[in-house]
């Protein structure tokens, strides 16, 4: 009787499992996405004329846009690798049989749970012109400053991002680490492999799917840091932290949908390129494993 169920082709079965997700995805994501693309090619959202790539051309010449892109790229290329390295290190440390290990794990996650509003409160208390940091600085004889309005603002945002997201990545790495069978390490140890060799040949290799995922999530979360930056510094923060989402937000407020969607699509193109690269790398490593 069971043999009958295998007559259903794997193709059909797959579509059955996919169907709910696919339909919802199409209605709420794919269609709006394409709709946005349409907006970027016309000169007005209401009965606009098709003007081709003109919006994009204007955009590339816009200094605010260039600034926003530069800042976003710099921020992401700095914070994402830091995030991955630090959280992997933490996950490895926590994977050992350490006293109080689960307590540490919980503690590192808590930043995720703290609402943005509290972060802003604490932030202001520390870095405002009359904040706690300046108290320490003046005690040391230096001049105080309104830190969020200096070039240090970029460092601050990176710190907030790392503080919030290392726990996130760490959880994912921990789950990935625990999925690597202990037997692999034991076999390697019996074969006389050093700890470093074990790390590179077993851990790094089998963590690849997890690492891929953590990488993507880190990028997504680096965009989310916009919320904190916005609540602390408003629509037009210090120029070093004026990022793409600030730009898009302001365009939204000015009802300039053309610039908004064009900016969004340039962003989309870059994301597509990054994802393509990651996919190729992942596929190559997967082939190595299997």
């Amino acid at each position: 009787m069971w043999k009958k169920s295998f007559k259903i082709s794997e193709n059909k079965l797959a579509w059955f499992f996919l169907a709910p997700s696919l339909i919802g995805f199409a209605v709420f994501y794919a269609v709006p996405f394409v709709g946005g693309l349409y907006y970027s090619f016309v000169d007005s959202p209401f009965n606009g004329k098709f003007i081709g790539l003109q919006n994009y051309a204007e955009l590339i010449r816009n200094p605010s846009f260039i600034k926003a892109v530069t800042n976003t790229v710099m921020f992401t290329s700095l914070s994402v690798p830091l995030n991955i390295i630090l959280s992997l290190g933490l996950a490895i440390l926590l994977n050992k049989k350490l006293y109080g290990r689960s307590v540490f794990r919980t503690l590192f996650i808590t930043p995720l749970v703290v609402p943005v509003a509290s972060i802003v409160l604490v932030w202001q208390s520390m870095f405002d012109i009359n904040g706690a940091l300046n108290a320490v600085i003046t005690a040391l004889g230096q001049n105080p400053a309104d830190w969020m309005k200096t070039d240090w603002a970029r460092v601050m945002v990176v710190i907030v991002y790392l503080w919030k997201n290392i726990g996130y990545s760490m959880v994912l790495f921990l789950a990935g680490l625990q999925n690597i069978p202990v037997e692999y390490y034991e076999a390697a140890r019996i074969d006389g492999a050093s700890t470093w060799k074990q790390f590179t040949n077993i851990t790094l290799v089998y963590l690849t799917p997890t690492a891929f995922f953590v990488f993507i999530m880190s990028i997504i979360n680096s965009f989310k840091v916009f919320r904190e930056a916005y609540l602390i510094s408003g629509d037009y923060p210090h120029s070093s932290i004026y990022m793409l989402q600030h730009y898009m937000n302001n365009m939204f407020a000015q009802l300039d949908y053309q610039k908004l969607t064009s900016a969004a699509f340039i962003m989309a193109v870059f994301i597509v390129l990054i994802v393509l690269t990651l996919f190729t790398i992942e596929r190559r490593i997967n082939r190595m494993i299997n």
Binding site: A14, F17, T106, G131
Partner: protein, 292 residues
């Protein structure tokens, strides 16, 4: 013993880091028990100097970030829960939004993830690629068209306008696919040889083996959606329908003491879910039985 020393060193490093990580949380909670007067004393100088230059008039006063209240009072909690009774309504609004999204996405995403991870079909990689790319887009990209779709479906100002896109967000698919891919095919082959049907494989083998991934997804989804701010602001026009996350982001200055207490209460569900789910996250999967 060298390894004992290493353990102590590692523990020390981790402890220092943990203190830094948990500091804002502890500050928020402990300050929520401070009286209005104490909060005023500790923080008022921050609101006064917005010019960006050193405000000589505030004199030598700097923000006092005390971790222990002078007197433990429940005044702020009273203010939040009783005097401003919207809090409980908004809490409930948050629940209405978050629970359906997390529950719905768990079901739908695990099905789709199984298809992507273990079933072969034409266009699989291309479709996944599309899923991934669209997921990475910041919400401003799809905001305006999303609103129009919701409008056409008559869902503006209805919770469904947020819940439905939330359920079909591809994050869960992405997360679970990675976990499911790690399940060795040999398990599935063995099950097939034992005569199991497709649904049996899905429910009895794949899902239990993904417990880690599902737990992680559940926690992350909950946190993400409990914190969402932009969507409610745009899709829900009635102020009464706004969730807690929006209310909280509007408090910030002027009602600092209130904000601390409100933040603490706001955090509780997330903390509880995390603490509960952590047990599942911890359960590693010990592979045994199938010899590669």
């Amino acid at each position: 013993m060298k390894s004992k020393f290493r353990m102590i060193l590692i523990t020390a490093i981790l402890s220092i880091m943990a203190i830094i990580f948990i500091f804002p949380l502890v500050l928020t909670v402990s300050n929520s028990f401070m009286s209005e007067a104490e909060i005023s004393n500790n923080y008022d100088m921050i609101d006064s100097g917005d010019s960006g230059t050193y405000d000589k008039d505030s004199g030598d006063k700097y923000a006092l970030m005390k971790l222990i209240p002078e007197v433990v009072v429940l005044q702020q909690y009273y203010n939040v829960l009783i005097k401003k009774s919207q809090f409980l309504y908004m809490f409930w609004n948050s629940v209405i939004l978050t629970v359906p999204i997390v529950a719905g996405q768990t079901i739908i995403a695990s099905m789709a993830a199984y298809a992507f991870a273990k079933l072969k079909f034409k266009g699989r990689n291309q479709l996944f690629f599309i899923y991934l790319t669209v997921m990475l887009m910041p919400f401003q990209v799809t905001l305006v068209p999303n609103y129009l779709v919701a409008d056409k479906l008559g869902l503006v100002n209805n919770y469904l306008s947020i819940i439905l896109p939330g359920i079909f967000n591809t994050f869960g698919v992405f997360l679970l696919k990675q976990y499911m891919e790690q399940i060795p095919d040999s398990y599935i082959e063995a099950a097939k040889m034992d005569g199991a049907g497709h649904f049996q494989i899905f429910f009895k083998i794949i899902m239990p083996m993904c417990r880690n991934g599902i737990a992680a997804m559940f926690i992350l989804l909950f946190i993400d959606n409990w914190n969402m701010v932009e969507q409610p602001l745009i899709f829900l026009q009635d102020v009464a329908k706004q969730p807690l996350s929006v209310y909280l982001s509007k408090i910030i200055s002027g009602e600092r003491g209130l904000a601390f207490a409100a933040s603490t209460l706001y955090m509780l569900p997330m903390l509880l879910i995390f603490l509960y789910g952590e047990n599942y996250l911890v359960e590693g999967i010990q592979r045994s039985g199938i010899k590669e």
